[in-house]
Symmetry: C2
Subunit: 242 residues, 2 copies
Amino acid sequence: MVSKNQIKLITSLIQKKYRKQHQLFIAEGAKVIEELLQSNFQLEHIYQTKPMFEAVSDAKKALVSESDLKKITALTTPNDCLAVFKIPQEKHIDATGLILALDDIRDPGNLGTIIRLCDWFGITQIICSEQTVDIYNPKVIQATMGSISRVAIRYVNLEKYLSETTMTIFGTFMEGENVYKKQFPNKGILVLGNEANGISKEIENLVSKKITIPRFGNLQLTESLNVATATAILLSEFKRST
Amino acid sequence: MVSKNQIKLITSLIQKKYRKQHQLFIAEGAKVIEELLQSNFQLEHIYQTKPMFEAVSDAKKALVSESDLKKITALTTPNDCLAVFKIPQEKHIDATGLILALDDIRDPGNLGTIIRLCDWFGITQIICSEQTVDIYNPKVIQATMGSISRVAIRYVNLEKYLSETTMTIFGTFMEGENVYKKQFPNKGILVLGNEANGISKEIENLVSKKITIPRFGNLQLTESLNVATATAILLSEFKRST
């Protein structure tokens, strides 16, 4: 059974303001939940339609019906389990290695894909502008497939942060240097811009190295790359040369 | 006004069997429609909420209300125009350049992103297994942002096709050769596998060069790359070395 109050609380967590108020977020599906459990995210409660997660104490698990799960899921088609976790404290970001800086990424699927790419390429630190979509948005959590547990993410005033760093700041612009002809350092900040508008003017002024992914198709007609596929190519280029 | 029969026809085009029966597909939004018009796709009719597309004869345009557009759109939030186009004849695929081969890509968003990547990297030919999602699926058409007009795509019995080609066939596998250490030819076929299962056993037997994108994160834990981001990295590697 899931009580009315629990349903109200859990479904409220789809909205950022209630996640902030309660300091809780939801994750769905055994794979994602398992990875968060193993990474010391603090579990509040699991709702499951069959016995799972043997290592979790019974006091933290409830067996529920499929129709109950439908009442609390954030997915169109619910999985067989949903967990509520505490939002952990934001970690400190060190000026080491390659750091990704997200300038107003708005699409949860894009943010999820970017976090998964960071995990693949061993990038462990991301800073986000305050307008970037919340990492605890259920769609972001689902898209990361658990890799969120291995990347430290912090929301900051990005303009202030970048104006105070001593690290080299890279950003992609049409007129930048060809990424295929460049050697990249193993330390720096790579800025990725908003889906519709790219990198904002204020942040562009702080970029020290402008780079570009050259296009091979019809120059006039080809659409731009989307931010997640551009990130894939850029991280690949940074990592292949280090 | 949109008649009941028109609504019935247009909404039926969300399903592949009716697209096949009528040999028609829909595209939404000025940008996508404009690119298809410019690329000699044969227009059947445009439904628009305000005057647009001056070059199109009035006989092929209907001014409709927003509520009418809502009745025919395949999108959650309709744009201001929807066009019905004829499905063109499939083009012949030549054994030249780099050809992409899709082994059961099922997600329309992934296929759309892959077509956009091909357009960016100047890849003009794609062959798809018969189980791959239909390129005239409205979600694919939207995701390509018009780049579908610049890439020839053909559905074939992929196993038969690959068993008869003389071109080198590349495919990604865990135990493949590191893509960062390889020089790629400017001619060949690159196979991409299904989202859940990767490249099928039958197709794997036909792959002549196994390659791999090395991972830099925690080897045990990191999620695999999704097929669209893997395609981005692979096309970038093929093109950077030619």
